[in-house]
Symmetry: D3
Subunit: 316 residues, 6 copies
C-alpha cells in the first residue's frame, strides 16, 4: 500500500509523487506539480505546474488545482470543488502574477464549493458543500452559504465529527468550561419597577482585579473579532446588550458560550485562544482586562499559539 499507483488511463507528467499516492483514470498532473505521500487523486482531477500538495491529501473527482494553490497535509477536497486564481478573468488577458490560495492542514473543502482567489482556509476549517468562499476562513470555523458565513466551529480534536457543545447554564455562580481555567459566571441581578440592575464586585466576585475596560460595538453581524490569545492578560467578557458567541480554545479543547444577558460573564484566562462572532446588530461587549494594553502580549497566529501550548503541561 506504500507503493505509488498511477492508473493506466491517467496522465501523470510529474516525477515528484510521494510514496503511497494513487492517481486515477483521466487525472492529469502537469510536470511541475509536487504531490506528497499517501494522497488520493481521483478520476478526472487536473493539477497544474505551480502546485504543492502535502501528505495524505484527498482530491475527489472533478477538481482542478491551478497554479498558485498550496494544499497542506491532511486536506480533503470534495468532488467538483472549484478553485480560481484570477479575481477579474478575461480571455487572453493574463494577470502578471496569479493570486495565491492556501489551504491549511486538516481543512476540508466541501463538495461543489467555490473558493475565490487569495483566501486562506484555516487549520481544521470546514467549508460546507456548495459554499462560495469570498474571504479567508479562521481555524476550525465551519462556513456555509453564498457568500459563505461562519456558522459555527468544529469540536475539539479528540472527536472532530461532533459539533461543539454550547454552554448554557443559568445557575448562579461559576461553571467550569473544560477549556483551561476558563469559567462561565452568572452574576447577581435585581429587578424592580424602575428597571434592572446587574452588579459585580472586582476583588470579591470577579476572578481577577481589572486595570482596564473596553467596549466593542457596532460590529457587522458577519464579522469575527478576537481571534488571538494573550500571554499574560486575563479577560472577563459581558455582552451588556444583544448577544454574541465566544469560542474558547486552550489548544486541546474548544468550547462555545453564548453571551446574551448583562448578568452573564465569561472568564478567559491567559493562553486561551478566543474568538467572538455572530454579533447581533445591537451587541455591546464589555471587557475587563487584568493588564494594560501591551502589543507584545498578543499571540495573533494560531500556529504559534499551538506550538506554545503544546510545550506546556495541561492546565485545568
Amino acid at each position: 500500500m506504500n507503493q505509488t499507483f498511477i492508473h493506466p488511463q491517467a496522465l501523470c507528467e510529474s516525477q515528484a509523487i510521494g510514496d503511497g499516492t494513487r492517481v486515477w483514470a483521466f487525472a492529469h498532473v502537469l510536470p511541475g506539480a509536487r504531490i506528497g505521500r499517501d494522497c488520493n487523486i481521483c478520476d478526472g482531477v487536473f493539477v497544474e505546474n505551480d502546485v504543492v500538495l502535502g501528505n495524505r491529501v484527498t482530491v475527489k473527482c472533478g477538481v482542478q488545482i491551478w497554479n498558485g494553490i498550496t494544499v497542506e497535509d491532511d486536506v480533503f477536497i470534495g468532488p467538483n470543488a472549484t478553485f480560481t486564481n484570477d479575481p477579474m478573468p478575461r480571455s487572453k488577458a493574463y494577470p502578471k502574477a496569479v493570486t495565491r490560495t492556501l489551504i491549511r492542514s486538516g481543512a476540508s473543502i466541501g463538495a461543489n464549493s467555490t473558493i475565490l482567489p487569495g483566501v486562506e482556509i484555516g487549520t481544521g476549517a470546514m467549508v460546507g458543500a456548495g459554499a462560495v468562499v469570498t474571504r479567508s476562513v479562521p481555524p476550525n470555523a465551519i462556513v456555509i452559504g453564498n457568500p459563505a458565513r461562519i456558522n459555527g466551529y468544529v469540536a475539539d480534536t479528540e472527536d472532530p465529527s461532533i459539533p461543539l457543545r454550547v454552554a448554557d447554564t443559568r445557575a448562579p455562580g461559576r461553571t467550569g468550561l473544560g477549556v483551561g481555567a476558563a469559567g462561565l459566571h452568572e452574576l447577581r441581578i435585581a429587578k424592580d419597577l424602575r428597571g434592572e440592575l446587574s452588579v459585580g464586585e472586582f476583588e470579591r466576585e470577579l476572578p481577577f482585579t481589572p486595570v482596564r475596560y473596553f467596549l466593542v460595538f457596532n460590529v457587522p453581524s458577519q464579522e469575527v473579532r478576537g481571534e488571538h490569545a494573550h500571554r499574560l492578560c486575563e479577560q472577563f467578557l459581558i455582552c451588556v446588550r444583544g448577544s454574541c458567541r465566544v469560542l474558547l480554545d486552550d489548544g486541546r479543547n474548544r468550547r462555545e458560550v453564548i453571551l446574551d444577558r448583562p448578568s452573564r460573564g465569561v472568564h478567559m484566562p491567559a493562553m486561551i485562544w478566543g474568538t467572538q462572532y455572530r454579533y447581533s446588530p445591537d451587541a455591546v461587549l464589555l471587557v475587563f482586562a487584568s493588564h494594560y494594553y501591551d502589543p507584545q502580549d498578543y499571540i495573533r497566529s494560531y500556529d504559534e499559539f499551538q506550538q506554545l501550548v503544546s510545550r506546556e503541561p495541561v492546565r485545568a
Copy 2:
C-alpha cells in the same frame, strides 16, 4: 437502439449494464455498479461500486455517483450536479458507513446543484440549477437557492412542463378548482367604523358541517405543513391573518390556492393530498374539519395515496 453501447474511450468495469444503455467517452463505471435499461451515461461521468441506477436514467457530464446513492427510474441528473456521502469529510478519515441518498422516480436534479448526504428527493421533484439541497424534498416540489427552499410545485402529470395555475378569483360564492370536488369560497364581509367582520354560517354556507376546528400558527416561512390526505375527513381552510399557499392534489390534477384574507376559504374534500407552504410570518390558518381526529384517517405516504386513487373512479 436496444443495444448497450460503450464508447471506446470509456472505462466500464461493471457487467450489470441494461439493454439500450449508452456509456460515453471518459466515463468510468466501477465493477460493483448496477445500471438499468435505456440509460445515458455521458462523457466523464464516474460511478462507484455501491450504486444502483434504475431504467431510463440520464446522467450528464461532470457527475459522480458515489457509494450509497440510489437512483430510481426516469431520473434526470444535470451536468456537474454533485452528490456527497459524508457529512463531515476529513481526508483519510472514513465513516463506518456512508450516508445514503435516495432519488425517487421521475425526479430531476438541476445542473450544478449540490445534494447533501442523507436526503431523499421525492417523486417528480425538481431541484433547481445551482441549488444546495440540505433537507429532503417532498414529491413534486420545486426547490431553488442556497440553502434550497420550496418555490412551488410542478403541474399535474398530463403536462409536467407547465407551471401550476394559481387560483385567484375574488367573485363571491364558490368556484370549482378542477381537483376532485375541491372549491374556493369567497365569503361575506362587512366593514364599519369599528372594524371589519366576516361571516360564514355552517349549514347554510359551508360545504359540510364541521365538528372540529384547529388553528395553525407561528409556522416559519420556509416550512411546509399538511402533506397528507384524509380517507373520510373534509376540511375548510381560512387564513384569517397573513397568507399561505395551499396545494390540492387528487392524484390526477394539482391546483394551488393563495389564502390571504379572512373572507376566503378553500374546501378540501376527502382523498385530496394537501400541502400548505409559503406561510407569511404572521399567518394564522383556521381549519374546520368534518370528523373528529382519527389517526387511522390519515394517509401520510404519497405512494400509498397514489395507489389508492388509481383504483378509484374519477370524481369531480
Copy 3:
C-alpha cells in the same frame, strides 16, 4: 341634618331644593333648577335653569351645571370639572337647542375633567381627574387621559373601590369565572419544529355546538366592541392573533379576561353582558355562536339587561 341649608352668601333663586341639601357660599342656583335630597352644592358652584340633579349628588367648588345637563342620583362631580352644551361655540351664536348631557346614577366625574356635550356617562363609571371626555362612557368603565380612553372597569357592586381582578390561569381545561356560567378554556396545543397547532372539538370540548362563526379584525386600539347581551345565543371567543380584553358581567358580578393566545377561549353564555376592548393593532378575534344571527336576540341597553337579570334566580 334633614333640613335644607342655604349659606347666607349663596344666591339660591330656586324653590325646588330637596330636604337635607346644602348650598354654600358664592354658589348661585337659577330659579328653574331642580335639586334632590341630601345634595352638597359647594362654594362658587353655578347651576343654570334647565338642570335636574338627583338625590345625594355632590358638586365640588368651581363647577358649573349648564342648561341641558341631567345628573342622576349618587353622582360625584369633582372640583373644577367642566361641562359644555355647545359643540361649536361662537359668541352670540346660540344653537337652537343645547346638546344634552346625561350623568347616570352612581357615576363619578374627576377633578378638573372636561365633559364634551352630548355624551352619556354610564352607571357607576369613573372619569379620571383631568380627563377630556369626547365620547360616551360605558357603565362601570374607568376612563383617563386627553382624549379619554377606557383604562379598565370598576369592580362589582359589593366593593366598588377594588379594581377588577383579571383572570389569568394557564392550567389546561375549564376554569369558572364567577360570572354566571361563563368559563375560561385553555385548549390543547401541540408544538413541533414546523409550528404550533391548537385544537378544539365542538361537541366534545366546546361548551355548545356552534352554527356560525365570525371574525373581528382591524379594530382601532381605542375602540370598544360588544357591549351587549344575548337572550339565547352563546358565544365562544378566541383571539387568534394579537390580544384583547373581554369583560363579562352577569348583572351581579364582573370579571375581566385577557385573550392573548390561540389556545385560550372564553365561553360567554346567554344573558351575560359582554364588552371587548384594548384590541392590539393586529388582533383577530374568532367567535363561535350557538344561534344564527337574530336582531331580536340582542339586549343593547344595560338598563334593560339589569332589569331582566334582577328578575331571574342566580345562576352559576
Copy 4:
C-alpha cells in the same frame, strides 16, 4: 404692607392669618386653616380646615385647597389649578382619611393643572400649565402633559427662570461641569471594518480606581433612577447603548449631561445629587464605583443633602 388685608367681600373664618397676607373678594377660608405671612389669596379661592400654607404663598383665582393639602413656603399655585384628596371618589362615600398631598417649598403649580391625591411635588419643581400629575415630582423637575412626564429640570438657584444648559462637547479629554468636581470625559475610540472599540484605563484615565461595576438596563422611558447622593463613593457613568440624561447637582449649581455614546463618561464625585432620566428603550448604563455597596453611604433625602452641603465650603 405688613398688615393683613381681608377684602370686605371675602369670607375669612380663620384667625391664623400671617402678617402681610391678603385675602381677596369672594375667597372663603374655613376656621381651621392656617396661612403664613405675606401670602396672596386671590378672588374666589376656597381653603378648607385641615390645611397649612407657608409664607409667601400665592394662590391664584379659581383654586380650592382641600383638607389634607400642605403647602410649604414660596409656592405659586396658578389659576384654576385643581387639587384632589380622594383617589376613587363616590358621592356621600367618604374615605376614612383623606389622601395627603405635599407641595414642597419653592414649587410652582401651573395654571389649570390637576394634582392627583397622594403625590409630593418636590422643592423647586415646576408643574406645567394643563398638566395632570399622577405621580410624585422630584425636586426641581419640570413636568408637562397628561399624564405628566419629566421634560427637564430647572436651572440652578441663582437664576431660576433660565433653563438648564445641557453640556454637549465632543472634545476629547475632561471638561469641568461647574458642579462641584464633576467632569465630562470623552474617551478614546477606535473604528475599523470589524466594528468600534472604546477603551478606558482605570488608574491612568479614569478619575478613580473602581472596585465595583454595575449595569442598569430595561428602564421604562418614563422612569427616573438615581435621585440620591453618596457620602464617600465616587461614580463614573457610561451609557454604552442608547441614551439617558444625567442631572448633577452640588446643592448650589445644577448641570445636565446627555450620555449617548460608549465613548462618553461622566464623573460624579461624592456629595453630588445625581438623577438619571429619559432613558431610551435600549439604554444600558455602565457604572464604575469607587467603593463597595454600603447602604450607609446613600443620602436619599434631598433635604438632608441640602443641609449637609450648606455646611461645607464650596468645592470646585
Copy 5:
C-alpha cells in the same frame, strides 16, 4: 337690551363698560379694564386692569382675564378656560413685563382649555375643550389635545358649524372643488411587473404650463406648511409619497383635499389661500408653479388676503 347691566352681587370697579354689556354675580372687574358693547361677563369671572375686551365677547363662568390679554370682537371664552401671563411663575417673583396674549376676532376658546402665555389665537379659530395651547393657532384652525395639535379647519363662513367636507373622488379627470377655479385631477397610471408609472403632460393635461417645481419633504407630522396666497402664481400639487391634507380657501369658501397617491394632483389657482398639514412621516409633496419665485407675489397675512378678495367679484 342695550342697557348695561351690573348684577348687585358683582364687583365692577371699571367705568369703561360698553352699552348692552352684562356683568353677573360674583364677577369682579378691576378699575383699568375696558370692555366693549354687548358683552356677557358671567358669574365669578375676574378681569384684571391691563385688559381690553372687544364687542360681543362672551366670558363664561370660572374664567380670569389677566393683565396682558387682549380679546377682539365676537370671541367666545368657555367655562373654566384658563389664561396665563408668566411662562415660569414663581411666588413673589414678578416678571418685568407680562407676556401678552392675543385672541383674534371670531375665535372660540373651549371649556377648561389652557392657553400658555405669548400665543395668538387666529381669526375664527376653535380651541377644543380641554386643549392645552402651547403655540399660536392659525386662522380657522381647530386644535385639540395636550399639547394642542391642528385637527382640521372650520367650514366656510356661510355655515360655520358644519365640518369641512373632504373631497375624495377617484374618478379620472378633473373635478371642481367649489373654491374659486381650483380642481382635483386624477392622472393616468400604468402598472407592470417592474413597478408603477404615473404620467402627466404639461400642456396637454395640466391646467397651466409650469416654469418651476419644488419638493417639500421631511415635514414633521404636526407641522403646517403653506398658509399664504399668491397674487399671480398658480400651483399644481402632487403628494408622490405618503400623504398630506391641502386646505383651499378663496375667502368665501373652504375645501380640504387629501393627497395620498402619485396619480392625484390638486390645482391651486392664484388668489387661493392654501394650507398643507397632517403630513405623513414619509410624505414628499411635488409642486409645479406657473411663475418664478417672486416674494412680491406672496400674501402672507390672512387679514390682507381677506381684504383683497372682498374687493373682487366672485370667480368660479
Copy 6:
C-alpha cells in the same frame, strides 16, 4: 503559436477548428461544433454539435458547451461553469427545441457558476464565481450570488479591471460626469423648522425645458429599469424618496451616480445609454423629459446604440 494543437488524449471530431486553437487532454468536441481562432479548450471540456465558439475564447476544465449555446469572441468561461438548455428537464423527455443561450463578446463566466437556459450574458459582463444566473445580464454588469443580482458595473473599456468610480460630490451647481454632456446637479435646498424644500426652475436651472414628467415607484429592489438610450429626448432624474443608482454610458465611458436625496438630479442628454438599479424599497424616481413620449425615439439594443455612437464625433 498559430498552429492548431490537438492533444493526443483529446477526442476532436470536428474539422471546424480555427488556427492557433488548442484542445487539451480528455476534451471531447463533437463533429458539428465550430470553434474560432486562438481558442483554448482545456482538459475534460465537452462541446456538443449545435455550438459556435468565436475567436480567442477560453474554456477551462470541467465545462460542457451544450447544443444551443453560442459564445462570441473573447469570452472567458471559468472552471466547472455549468450551462443548461432545458428549463424543466426530465429524463428521456426531450424539448422540441433547446432553449438557446448567448454569451456576448468580452463577457467572463465565473468559476463554478450556473447559467440557466435562455439568458443572454451582455457584452463585457462579469458573472461572479459561484453565481446562479437566472435572468439576462446587461452589458458590463457584474452579477453575484444565488440567484445572481447586479452588484455593479465594470469600468470603461480603457481599463476593465478597475471598478467604476461612483460620483458623489455635494458641491452645489453642476458637475460634469465625463460621459457625453451628462451632468450631476446639486439643487438649492432650504430647511427650516417646518421641514425641507428643494427647488429647481426649469428654464433657469435645469438643462432643458421639460414637456413631461413621470414617476417611477414600487420597484422591487432587485429590478433594473431604464436600459435604453433616446435619440432626441433628454431627461433629468431626481430620486425624491429613497435611493437608486444610475449608470450613464456614452459608448466610450461609463459613470455611476447614486441618487439619494431630493436635492440631487442627474441630466441625461440624448444618446446616453442609461440604466437604473439598486432601488431602495421606498424609492420614488421623478423624471423630467424634454419630449413627449415617442416609441421611435427609443434605442433598446445596446448593439445598435454602440454602432450609432461609433459613427459620431466625441462630444463632451
